[in-house]
């Protein structure tokens, strides 16, 4: 159990001399507190697995340091780091029974036999594996095997953190739900720091207290699921999280107003000085834009199609060339061609070169 600090941590598979832009992980500094549930979220190739492997010691960083409770563990090998990791595909020791598999990490560290037995029982119980304890692990199904892998990750009570590298990839969708809630429950019960890598936003948002969104080797935002939804710090976070994602439209912003195609949209905050020469966009989630009958004073848009998601309907529209999604209010009958858009000014954000600009209230 430990607080984890990353200090200017960066890694390139091409070595330290590689061009800064080619680094798989660009320099990052952040702190993860003891007992937290963190998710590293991002598309494939964004550097999240690299970051995980740096923490577990499978990969040695090109630059920077990793501290566990203030102690620099960067040069230590994986064995000495006191970390547990669960991989994407189940890793099972073929010749052992399920129980022996679970006991393996403890035995290797010389934990007394009685303690090993008690801990294995507890973990098997939590993962519903008690029934299989004396069976050979090879003959089980893929998801039972992955449960064993999870169990081996959780069995040590003294680890600094448990790392999960997309552990539910091989699991059936129905079981995925169960296992995910199980992990969440285990996190509460065992009081372990957990770091969970995934490219599935639902998985990340349901599992973690803090979601770290990564894009192109950079950490673009770290926050609670609500923060990521309400106030994306980067346009990437805006459209990666949420379904449909955030609308991002080029606009001219001054003071309390944004102009799109010469049409004025009111803003909740005041944007005085914007960086000169930057690309200015406004971002607003589809949930905070309603369509209405065309009227003067409303930004008008052309209807392309309506997506019915069951719980809500979203209209896909076009403003000039820009694609846009907006909510269809319940009971509203959608006209065939043009509609007006009603914005909720409190949820319209301004981005300069893809980064959030904080306005003055």
């Amino acid at each position: 159990m430990a607080r984890i600090d990353l200090v200017d941590l960066a890694h390139s598979y091409g070595g330290n001399d590689a061009a800064p832009e080619s680094f798989a992980l660009k320099p990052v500094t952040m702190t993860w507190r003891q007992g937290g549930a963190y998710a590293l979220l991002g598309p494939s190739g964004c550097g999240k697995t690299t970051l995980l492997n740096l923490i577990s010691g499978i990969v040695t960083p090109s630059r920077g340091k990793i501290l566990f409770d203030g102690a620099d563990i960067t040069p230590l090998s994986t064995q000495k780091r006191n970390i547990a990791q669960v991989f994407q595909f189940p890793v099972i020791y073929d010749t052992m029974t399920v129980g022996q598999n679970l006991a393996f990490p403890l035995q290797n560290r010389g934990v007394p036999k009685a303690e090993v037995e008690a801990r294995v029982r507890q973990i098997a119980d939590l993962l519903d594996l008690t029934f299989y304890l004396d069976r050979k692990a090879t003959r089980l199904t893929a998801d039972a095997k992955q449960k064993i892998s999870l169990g081996r990750g959780l069995v040590r009570s003294d680890v600094a953190a448990v790392l999960f590298d997309e552990p539910l990839t091989v699991i059936d969708p129905e079981l995925k739900w169960q296992l995910r809630s199980k992990l969440k429950a285990l996190h509460r019960e065992l009081d372990l720091t957990m770091i969970y890598v995934t490219h599935d936003q639902t998985e990340a948002l349901t599992f973690a207290d803090t979601v770290v969104v990564m894009h192109d080797g950079r950490v673009v935002q770290s926050g609670t699921p609500a923060e990521l939804f309400d106030k994306p710090a980067h346009t990437f976070v805006g459209y990666f999280i949420g379904s449909p994602g955030m609308n991002i439209v080029p606009a001219v912003v001054s003071g309390h107003e944004a102009r799109i195609d010469g049409h004025i949209i009111g803003l909740h905050r005041n944007y005085g000085v914007l960086p000169a020469g930057a690309k200015i966009e406004i971002g607003v989630r589809p949930e905070f834009v309603n369509i209405a009958a065309p009227a003067s004073g409303l930004l008008s848009a052309a209807i392309e199609r309506i997506d019915d998601l069951g719980r809500a309907r979203f209209a896909r529209v076009r403003i000039g060339d820009a694609k846009f999604a907006a909510r269809v209010p319940p009971g509203f009958s959608v006209p065939d061609n043009m509609v007006g858009l009603v914005f909720d000014p409190a949820h319209v954000h301004v981005y300069a070169d893809s980064r959030l600009v904080e306005g003055v209230a």
Partner: protein, 300 residues
């Protein structure tokens, strides 16, 4: 659904059948024919029934004694070389590099002995071990060891065994190396994280993942060593005395040395049968190992 019956397909099988009959079945039947008869030369044959087979399995007769003694020597030889080559092959495979240009170098060096013809291997070691001009024999003798594979039984055995180890350990090593290479990195990473020692990694991951290739290696090495002929024949000629006379050498002595076709035919049939049975046992074991049999539901 009715099956379409087309007997013309037999014509496609016929050529193969003819070739196999001519190359395998006919010669084998000739041997069976000889094994039931005795000959006193001049192409005169006399019916002997199963007489030769009875003698073959009775250690009190000359034929039976020679056969069973050579069979014992052969099994001992196979056991010794398996006990040396399999562990040694595993060690070699484990100490080979996993990537880089050195891999190619190691593979070529390992493959070299496998490419040398049997009788050349025999000749190499025959000369290598000679006390007067051979590098090994001369060195050992000048170091004070009384090494002479022509007159000393132990030296003859040692020479034949070391020669086989030199010739064939590479095969075991290459098979094991292939088995090791097929283990995904995640296993090693997981073992690191689980804090496994080098020995635990070997026992829990590498050995179980190699068990299929190891079975193949054991099968191949057993069959080859059980049928060994050329190398010991070239080096020791079966001597000193009969000490390195294996079944195949005994067979050739009887068939071509004494021209006892009946006895030789009976011996070769039994020899063949032993090999077939061992082959079948190995094959059955191999195809069953590693297959995941579904467990009965509800079994505790």
């Amino acid at each position: 659904m009715d099956k379409i019956v087309n007997q013309k397909a037999w014509f496609l099988v016929l050529p193969v059948f003819a070739v196999v009959a001519f190359s395998a079945i006919l010669p084998l039947m000739t041997v069976v024919n000889y094994s039931m008869q005795d000959t006193f030369g001049n192409n005169q044959f006399f019916w002997n029934g199963v007489g030769w087979f009875k003698e073959l399995l009775d250690p009190s007769t000359d034929l039976g004694g020679r056969f069973l003694a050579s069979l014992g020597r052969n099994l001992l030889f196979s056991a010794i070389i398996l006990a040396i080559e399999v562990p040694l092959g595993i060690v070699v495979a484990l100490s080979m590099p996993r990537e880089g240009w050195t891999v190619a170098v190691c593979l070529v060096i390992l493959a070299l002995p496998l490419l040398i013809p049997w009788n050349v291997v025999g000749t190499i070691w025959q000369i290598f071990g000679r006390p007067d001009i051979g590098l090994l024999g001369y060195t050992l003798n000048s170091l004070g060891f009384d090494y002479n594979y022509v007159s000393n039984e132990f030296d003859a055995w040692a020479t034949v065994i070391v020669m086989d180890v030199w010739h064939w350990t590479s095969l075991v090593a290459l098979l094991c190396y292939a088995g090791l290479k097929s283990i995904p990195d995640a296993y090693y990473q997981a073992a690191q994280i689980d804090g496994a020692s080098r020995w635990a990694v070997f026992k829990a991951i590498q050995l179980p993942k190699m068990n299929r290739v190891l079975l193949i290696a054991v099968l191949l090495r057993f069959m080859d060593s059980f049928m060994i002929y050329t190398e010991p024949f070239v080096v020791t000629g079966g001597g000193p005395g009969n000490s390195t006379t294996f079944v195949s050498i005994e067979l050739v002595k009887i068939a071509l040395g004494q021209f006892d076709l009946g006895k030789a035919a009976a011996l070769s049939l039994v020899y063949n049968l032993i090999i077939l049975i061992v082959c079948w046992v190995f094959y059955t074991v191999m195809t069953n190992v590693g297959t995941e049999r579904p467990e009965k539901k509800g079994a505790a």
